[in-house]
């Protein structure tokens, strides 16, 4: 199987604070990877480093064997709602069209007929074609999420990254969203960050548990007892699957804090 993302010995520090420590992770083609972990566990940071939005302090990330700066293929990105202005004066159609700007020149970038067709097809596939003239601020959470996905897909990416896609979406729209992602996964590799264990465990192919360090990477078939524990307890509990390890990891943690 072809390696899509290779992360080697990756560490990220914000000033003195360690956000990610020695991460090693390989994602293969057509994988559907769900990254879970507590708030502040470095999930979004990892996503940002992979996409080149943040520079790693140590280690390297390669996509299709290239560093992010020499990468010549588009990356699809579906950001969190908070990362842009929902009041911005742009219509659904125009927002999705910005995805087609990939590879175009800065001045007088021409949108081809092909681009308009791509956008129109995507809008129809995602059932938001009748909303195309709406300003993005007038949409519901689920509708806006679809617009962001359409925008990412308009660049025709082979990898799609999603940051908390189910966070601002109601339950029925969540199910629809996960079905959509499963369908997309037949053609492209997907990496999704979420704290929503339900959405992750029943839909993804592999799972990664992240809390500064990568505790687990592999099969998502966690038994019910473990999933329950994940909500209340430390991520490393289910990561190792052995409750006896709790003491050990706690020691590790307090040791780390003393070092700081």
């Amino acid at each position: 199987m072809k390696k899509v993302i290779e992360i080697e010995n990756l560490s990220v520090f914000y000033n003195e604070i360690c956000a990610l420590e020695n991460i090693n992770l390989t994602v293969y083609e057509k994988d559907f990877l769900g990254i879970i972990g507590p708030n502040g566990g470095g999930k979004s940071t990892l996503l940002k480093v992979i996409m080149g939005l943040l520079k790693p302090s140590k280690g390297a990330v390669k996509i299709y064997g290239h560093s992010i700066d020499s990468l010549r293929v588009p990356i699809g990105y579906v950001p969190q709602f908070g990362s842009f202005d929902r009041e911005f004066p742009i219509s659904v159609e125009d927002a999705v069209l910005t995805g087609c700007l990939y590879g175009k020149k800065l001045f007088f970038p021409k949108f081809l007929n092909d681009d308009h067709n791509t956008v129109s097809t995507l809008l129809k596939e995602l059932n938001i074609h009748d909303l195309r003239k709406r300003q993005i601020g007038e949409l519901s959470g689920g509708q806006l999420q679809k617009v962001l996905i359409a925008r990412a897909l308009a660049a025709k990416p082979k990898i799609l990254f999603l940051d908390e896609p189910t966070a601002s979406v109601d339950t029925s729209a969540q199910g629809e969203l996960m079905e959509l992602l499963k369908e997309l996964n037949k053609k492209i590799t997907i990496v999704m960050v979420s704290h929503d264990i339900g959405a992750i465990s029943s839909n993804v192919k592999t799972i990664a548990c992240l809390n500064t360090q990568l505790y687990y990477h592999g099969n998502p078939e966690l038994d019910n007892c473990m999933v329950e524990k994940l909500y209340g307890c430390n991520i490393d509990l289910i990561a190792h699957g052995v409750p006896h390890r709790v003491l050990g990891t706690h020691k590790e943690k307090s040791g780390k804090e003393e070092n700081k």
Binding site: M51, G52, L53, L71, P74, I75, Y77, P79, S83, F84, D85, F88, P89, I90, S91, D94, A95, T98, G99, L101, Y102, G103, K104, L106, F107, F108, P109, F111, Q135, R151, A152, A155, F161
Partner: protein, 276 residues
């Protein structure tokens, strides 16, 4: 007043200055509003006072040194913010007051009588010279070209810089372009509205336009027209009643926004009641 326009060159200049500054304000003001850079633009305007002081001290045209200060300030704020993650609001405050302080220092060091600063602080559209107009025309050409040619990229960048960055669009270039254009616009407008009042010209027209449109291009165009009407009205009142033009233009702008907001509310109410 119409007859005087044909008679006096200074009135013709003022009229052309109105048109030219409305174009710059409408376009760049919209960018400032949507990128939420209003405070930073105010900071740049005030910091450029340091440049004006330096101009008097060195005996060169104050607008050119002001230009250096404003471009320097806007680039410094964005660079420091990028590298150290210091809150840009805070940096703006520091540059704002340090620039003003430098201006005061330079002017006090200038030998001879202290120059009259009021036209720089509050603006005087009736004293705009031919050279000022040439500078303004040059700036307008640069703004119109860059924004028109790069409009689609700029829109994507303004909407979601992070997404644009992942798509490998030239976001760093766009950062510099926007910051430099703001700095240039602010300095050129100093002649019309002055350091202290310039921010009104950059905010009132786009804020008014925003009430009536959800399309970026239309907001820019409506801003330009609004700015032009406000500027001309201000000029007319200022000339007729002999009140300082900068202040009148700003007051007219503020009043226009207030009235537009009320009209907008009224329209919404009527729509709502007719819908029910």
């Amino acid at each position: 007043m119409i007859a005087s326009i044909f008679k006096y060159a200074f009135l013709q200049n003022a009229l052309i200055a109105c048109i030219l500054s409305s174009i710059a304000c409408g376009i760049i003001g919209t960018v400032i509003m949507e990128k939420k850079l209003v405070m930073m633009s105010g900071g740049i305007a005030h910091a450029s006072f340091g440049g004006i002081g330096l101009g008097f001290l060195l005996g060169v045209e104050p607008i050119f040194t002001a230009l250096l200060f404003s471009v320097g300030t806007s680039l410094s704020i964005s660079e420091i913010n990028k590298r150290s993650k210091t809150n840009p609001d805070l940096l703006t405050g520091i540059f704002w007051s340090v620039g003003m302080a430098l201006g005061i220092l330079f002017i006090s060091l200038t030998p001879g009588y202290p120059p009259d600063m009021s036209s720089y602080l509050f603006g005087d559209i009736l004293t705009v010279s031919r050279n000022d107009l040439i500078t303004m025309i040059a700036l307008d050409i640069v703004i119109i070209f860059l924004i028109f040619a790069g409009f689609n990229m700029l829109k994507a960048y303004m909407f979601d810089r992070e997404f644009a960055s992942v798509l490998r669009l030239p976001v760093n270039f766009l950062d510099y372009m926007v910051y430099i254009l703001i700095a240039l616009t602010v300095v050129v407008l100093i002649r019309v509205a002055g350091i202290i009042l310039v921010i009104a010209l950059l905010t009132a027209p786009p804020a008014t336009a925003r009430l009536f449109s959800y399309n970026l291009k239309n907001i820019m165009l409506i801003s330009i027209l609004t700015g032009l009407v406000l500027c001309l009205t201000g000029l007319f009142i200022s000339y007729s009643y002999n009140i300082p033009s900068g202040a009148v233009i700003v007051l007219v702008s503020g009043a226009a926004y207030l009235v537009s907001a009320l009209i907008k509310r009224l329209i919404n109410k009527i729509r709502l009641s007719s819908a029910v």
